[in-house]
């Protein structure tokens, strides 16, 4: 293991971007990192709000029209190597808001997330459970650690 990946494994910074879901997933993710019950900080996973110091981007919500461009810019601002986790049914396929197969396809929703930025791990659920978020973060880690 190189020094870089050694140090990366000891400080994984997660940035949460909220692109217009219902707040349920976001609170579960914050809960998963902050709450003493799940406590992702014990696995050296920290929550940050600064894209320049983030390693993992967690995206929740169907991407609304106004959030599309900010999401691209945030993704660009994160230094390599980076991993993206799409969390929640909305981020994976638009959820109820996309009105899939409905008679009125929604014009407000630009998602799902993988149309806009490349996604490495997908966490299903409405809303996601904290255990699943941890599993998703672990699934995205090899990309970070094996990068040169």
């Amino acid at each position: 293991m190189s020094l870089k990946s050694y140090s990366r494994a000891r400080a994984v910074h997660v940035m949460l971007v909220y692109t217009g879901g219902c707040n349920g997933c976001d609170i579960e993710i914050v809960n998963c990192i902050f709450s003493p019950k799940y406590d992702a900080e014990q696995y050296k996973i920290f929550l940050t709000w600064n894209p320049r110091e983030a390693d993992v981007l967690v995206v929740t919500g169907p991407v609304t029209k106004h959030n599309e461009q900010p999401l691209r810019e945030i993704y660009k601002a994160i230094p390599e190597p980076k991993a993206v986790i799409a969390a929640g049914a909305c981020a994976l396929m638009g959820g109820v808001y996309k009105n899939i197969n409905g008679d009125i396809p929604s014009e407000e929703i630009m998602g799902p997330v993988d149309k806009i930025i490349p996604v490495d791990a997908k966490v299903p659920g409405c809303a996601v459970r904290p255990e699943d978020v941890l599993a998703g973060a672990v699934a995205a880690l090899p990309k970070l650690l094996n990068a040169k």
């Binding site: 219902c22 707040n23 709450s35 959030n67 009125i104």
Partner: protein, 377 residues
């Protein structure tokens, strides 16, 4: 500034501090423009609309059961309030009687939701204060409530307990569940009392929050603030007293006079024991019998509206029924009426207090972003 606390002279404030839409202090995307002079906020402007998903538009023309479960997806914090009010509208329109037991279980769900919403507010407030330890402690207490919600509804966030005519069979309370709720309430009451004592006796926290973001009573009424934000300015109003659902429960309405961050926090802290009191009464007097009234027929109905008191204030739903489908859906959530209070509370304080003054009104911009402006050309 005149006594209305408003910028009256046509002065141009050049320094503008924009926050958002994605910003570190705000979890939700919204945009705040602070107009600053000598680091004192002179004017503030909150813009919403980033989150717009058009839920009302998607609901238009859906079968009423489907539309009810879609209202849940408006907000992930007060999801039960939305589905409850939406179901109440349908029951009012069709004249459906709900069994007593179902009413009590709905009340239990609503009060559990109020507990978790207020605790989330305390955690978020502590985090904005910069006191992460308090935030973690509250999240620790909140986890008990979340587990109870998961036990009753089957999901941690969107439980979907009320259905038209009663509640979902999944949410029936048996003896084991009742015992678990009782134990959970004992735990929450003990821990939240401990937390409140520590919070109030912490001189650093208290000096940070006392006298910051003051909203006067008259201003709060004029800006049509609602819920605990209004109660924190000294207005004794709570829709729960007037709702027929709450007739058989005893509880106090908590008010505070100062209207600052401290009062806002304390009102919510002190509402937690009141909610626990309501849950205990509901469990002790839980009536026997069936939980769903299935003998009703769908018929057309004109626009029916209903108000309930939710953790953040007054919630309004209205729709009409046409061949079993909903039409003309309008939802008004408490946060949209609180936006004026949020803007107003920042004015006159240091720029570092602005975020705190906004958070004191318990904003939920997810709820808020539904309005569509129709422009006729």
């Amino acid at each position: 500034m005149d006594e209305d606390n408003k910028v009256t002279k046509k002065q141009v404030i050049e320094t503008e501090v924009p926050l958002g839409t994605v910003h570190s202090a705000a979890i939700e995307p919204y945009r705040v423009r602070l107009f600053v002079e000598d680091e004192i906020v002179k004017d503030a402007e909150i813009t919403v609309g980033v989150n717009h998903r058009g839920v009302e538009r998607i609901m238009e023309g859906l079968p009423v059961e489907k539309a009810n479960s879609l209202t849940e997806k408006i907000c992930g914090i007060c999801s039960n309030s939305h589905i409850w009010n939406s179901v109440l509208v349908a029951e009012k329109a069709l004249g459906i009687e709900v069994p007593e037991r179902a009413l009590y279980i709905r009340i239990i769900m609503e009060e559990l939701e109020r507990l978790h919403s207020h605790m989330l507010y305390l955690a978020h407030g502590s985090e904005v204060l910069g006191h992460e330890t308090f935030a973690m402690r509250v999240f620790y207490i909140r986890e008990t409530v979340m587990e109870l919600l998961r036990m009753i509804g089957g999901n941690r966030v969107q439980y979907g307990v009320p259905i038209i005519g009663g509640i979902r069979p999944r949410a029936e309370l048996d003896q084991m569940r009742i015992q678990k709720i009782k134990d959970g309430m004992d735990f929450v009451e003990e821990k939240i009392t401990e937390f409140a004592e520590r919070f109030v006796s912490d001189p650093m926290v208290m000096s940070r929050i006392t006298g910051v973001g003051i909203l006067k009573k008259e201003d709060a009424i004029r800006l049509s603030a609602t819920g605990p934000t209004l109660r924190a300015t000294g207005v004794d109003i709570d829709l729960r007293r007037d709702m027929p659902e709450y007739d058989s429960f005893e509880f106090n309405v908590i008010t505070h006079d100062d209207g600052d961050v401290k009062s806002n926090l304390l009102v919510r802290v002190l509402e937690i024991p009141e909610s626990i009191k309501i849950i205990r009464q509901a469990i002790d007097h839980l009536p026997e019998g069936k939980i769903t009234n299935r003998s009703w027929e769908m018929e057309d109905a004109p626009v029916t509206k209903n108000y309930i008191e939710v953790p953040r204030g007054k919630l309004y739903h209205s729709y009409s029924l046409d061949d079993g489908r909903v039409r003309n859906v309008i939802v008004r959530t408490p946060s949209i009426t609180n936006i004026g209070a949020m803007e107003y509370a920042c004015i006159g304080y240091h720029i570092t207090d602005a975020q705190l003054a906004i958070v004191q009104c318990d904003p939920c911009f997810t709820c808020t972003d539904r309005a569509i402006q129709i422009i006729q050309i």
